[in-house]
Symmetry: C2
Subunit: 197 residues, 2 copies
């Protein structure tokens, strides 16, 4: 038998609810949605945050291109329609994982208000914490970790966010994370403070 | 700060793994896949099992038509192609939830070996526990909880499993659950015993 918190009482006469699952996990389900340019540091920060959460006993799951585009969304391309379906499915997975009581970290460029609103609507306003990883384009392009900006400038990649496709600054993010003069760990501290965790 | 098991040590130098998440949840991620005719008792048993697991401190999530067809798979119909995509996405969600350390209960007719093999392959053989909810067609049809058999017999529903579309008996299920003379709670006990939980 696993650890059972003191406020858990046996259920016999009804179905399990989100609140039950949250009580068992001793936390509230939540979606953290990292949005920002390619190379802005979304995944680096999400990975750091994931470790910090774990080290404090919080149960989380990280969704990013690596585990979503290779699995659930491996039948989607990069057309406008497919990008939208990509985000829709991710948001629906968040919905289910939040029901399960997990803290879900999401690392996706998600460049437009339209696409982020879609996610917000599916996940539910009160569950959805938008973190704008606010790193200037010049810095992202100078880093160019994956060599994508170079290819985009050379015209080898079309519709690349920040180059020939717009990134719409989030209007009212839960957190506007200005990363320029901060370490990833400092960014994580800022998020944890904002979440009061 | 939430409850932290004694065998958890801080992670700084690497990414979180499935094993880390499982350690924090004090359990192994797992997929229980209930297959059987409409009205066989899949969801009734899954709902009972979910409560039993909860009452013993196991962290689970239940996926069924109610929460999947209305969300993640609300853009799928019932063509052969769509049924396959339905199961594919569900299996991919299982994959992610198992990575998160959860015990995932699935209640879907999933009538063919092809479709169950697809799920098994995505979820991974060692994570996939197929439970055949083995209830004779006559009983399912006599119950006809949703009135679907009557409609199928009247020709109002086409390709209804057991009537004019085959249900392929699972060849080597993890558990062949013969429900006819058992209460749902007895079925749950049989599953828990088989899982050694």
């Amino acid at each position: 038998m696993a650890h059972i918190p003191e406020n858990i009482f046996p259920i016999h006469d009804r179905s399990l609810s989100r609140e039950d699952r949250e009580r068992l996990l001793e936390q509230k389900g939540l979606c953290l949605w990292f949005t920002g340019l390619s190379g802005s540091g979304k995944s680096t920060i999400a990975l750091e945050l994931e470790k910090s959460l774990y080290n404090s006993g919080w149960k989380s799951m990280l969704l990013d291109g690596d585990n979503v585009r290779t699995g659930l969304n491996n039948n989607l391309g990069f057309s406008q329609e497919d990008r939208k379906e990509n985000i829709r499915r991710i948001a629906e997975v968040n919905h289910l994982m939040i029901e399960a009581g997990l803290i879900v970290l999401n690392s996706f460029v998600s460049p437009t208000e339209e696409i982020r609103s879609l996610a917000r609507e599916i996940v539910g306003e009160k569950n959805f914490k938008e973190v704008f990883v606010n790193t200037p384009l010049e810095i992202c392009e100078a880093r160019d970790v994956k060599g994508l900006y170079k290819k985009a400038r050379a015209g080898e990649i079309k519709n690349f966010t920040g180059i020939d496709s717009p990134f719409e600054t989030p209007e009212k993010p839960f957190l506007d994370l200005k990363t320029e003069h901060k370490t990833p760990q400092e960014c994580v501290e800022e998020i944890l403070n904002a979440l009061k965790l």
